[in-house]
Symmetry: D3
Subunit: 134 residues, 6 copies
């Protein structure tokens, strides 16, 4: 299996609901450093997993929709705790849809799996991975 990753980041405010979150129930924030890893069993005709420049640009665009926001006021996340693991899935879904609509080029149709990892600090992070195109 081949894979390729690109890295970008975004910075948001949010708070969590539930006693388990302790002081993180208060409004605070985070920088998330995001790695998206694209996987496929064979390279395309150009010798690529995916166009790395395009992948980075599309990721930047997707994160731009979240960047510099208070996620507590984001309608798309209403009633949800925007934990690191939840956001990993949210970004996975956006990138999967971008691949589906051809934003990563025709060659990206060969992608079979994807993993999104968010580091929230030098000591913690979370990820979501799944098959594509199911």
């Amino acid at each position: 299996m081949y894979s390729l990753f690109v890295r970008q980041h975004f910075m948001i405010a949010h708070s969590f609901t539930g006693e388990i979150f302790g002081p993180a129930q208060k409004l605070h924030g985070a920088t998330y450093v995001v790695d998206v890893e694209f996987r496929r069993p064979e390279l395309d005709g150009d010798g690529l997993v995916v166009d790395i420049g395009l992948a980075s640009e599309v990721l930047g665009g997707l994160l731009g929709e979240l960047n510099y926001r208070n996620l507590d006021e984001a309608p798309e996340f209403a009633g949800r705790n925007t934990t690191t693991e939840f956001l990993a899935k949210a970004i996975f879904d956006r990138m999967a849809a971008a691949i589906e609509r051809g934003a990563l080029g025709a060659g990206a149709s060969g992608l079979t799996e994807m993993k999104v990892t968010l580091k929230e600090s030098h000591v913690a992070g979370a990820s979501y991975e799944a098959a594509l195109g199911a």
Copy 2:
């Protein structure tokens, strides 16, 4: 599949038995930077893989039992080479037992896999991963 990781470290002395170890047969030591990655197919009701604060605290406690020790004198490792890969499994087993006895909270019963990685320097490391609750 979702995952979440937390990072801690510990510092020990040890030596190895066997010609293959060369100069590492002498008493020396290491700093191990430990990542424990917890995995599950679905998030719990709070939107979590596991309580990140609790996971970090429990890991700190487990590593505290090894930290600042000469592993050559640790009864639990008698007759074993405490290589990086061996220690990855030893920490996996301790964390799996902690999950089993409820130390990571009731929600942690949904965890299905775990991976423990030890970096021994900027250029080498080892890990052990397996299913949980088998």
Copy 3:
């Protein structure tokens, strides 16, 4: 010149005032990974720059006063843009005061300089450094 550093982090929400900040004028947030570097020309009698465990604990305590907060509502920063560079100085001042009141032990009286660095992502950060005890 000797130096020693310890690392901790904190997570906050804030917004900035001024057109130069563009989208960062909106409420957002950041994880700051903080390095505090202590300097002195000679080691103390124990062979130390400063007690590393105590330094890390005191830094954790200072950052705990900022962690999980919306800095826009922090009275101590009223009317100020809590930029990365501004926060580096704010943490410098708190640590300098801690040294002054003996929180880092008697040996810390030999410290002559300090530098506080905040990384806000994998691609940006800021710092403040100055002599101590002036």
Copy 4:
């Protein structure tokens, strides 16, 4: 499953063929930081995945054949785009052959999987992984 990784690097010049590569169609270059991860279900009699010193030395040797070269003139890559993902596979194949011929010692016959990751910068990289000995 146990794993162990070692890290080395190499520095090459190359260019790519195909409009998708944009400015990278011109002769340029890269530093690749290479992690090779060896995997096996059980440790050998010494408590090892593989002899870490030997693994690092063999990897250094394999990369030495690529280091300080213009890959556009490498006969073994004629007519191929030496992308990061392509090179990950090329190094995988060389290491698999080295294991096969016993260069990593007799114990290495227990290895069942391998993964080769190349980071080309702080924000991008690629990898190839597969079963061994098929």
Copy 5:
């Protein structure tokens, strides 16, 4: 003294002249991860060392002039070994000129020192630092 850094990278081919360079006399290449650190004794009226977004954008533009090139054919470096330390100074000079012509905004006139660091791998790098506006 306050400082702020931004990070970008570029990828080039080159060769060196002189026996001391050994195999690096052959055409090869490198990824350089570049940190530019801007320094000043006091923050500007917005609480900034420099506009971080603008600084990153200007650095990206400067590196774009070097990126994806064979430096052996760059007229501006004719007859020079484009070592890591030499390139650190070359980027310093370009950024100093950019500050001089106002590319980093009016506030950047308060900058007094700058440091440019290039990492060529995970184990080596070089830098150049000097006062500004001399």
Copy 6:
């Protein structure tokens, strides 16, 4: 001022004397990742701060004298606490002597300052820096 750094590591056992060290009074160990930074105001005739390959090789040799040892039994450190900051100075002195005796080549006579940094984990480290040739 120009600088160049190279990175290597070593792994030792030791213990500390003095109540301030708490549990670190027991025999334990550490991996130290060592950066040596060489500085000079002007480059030599080849465009170098110092021969990077030679510098890395000499550093490897110096650390080889400490690697895989119990420093409590090292005659050269008898009666001293081999703290991270103490070891930074010890390596500085060895490298300064190596420069003095010409081990880094004739060009290294132009070096004017040096800094040695030891990271003992992902969250702590120490350094020693001074002028050379005084």
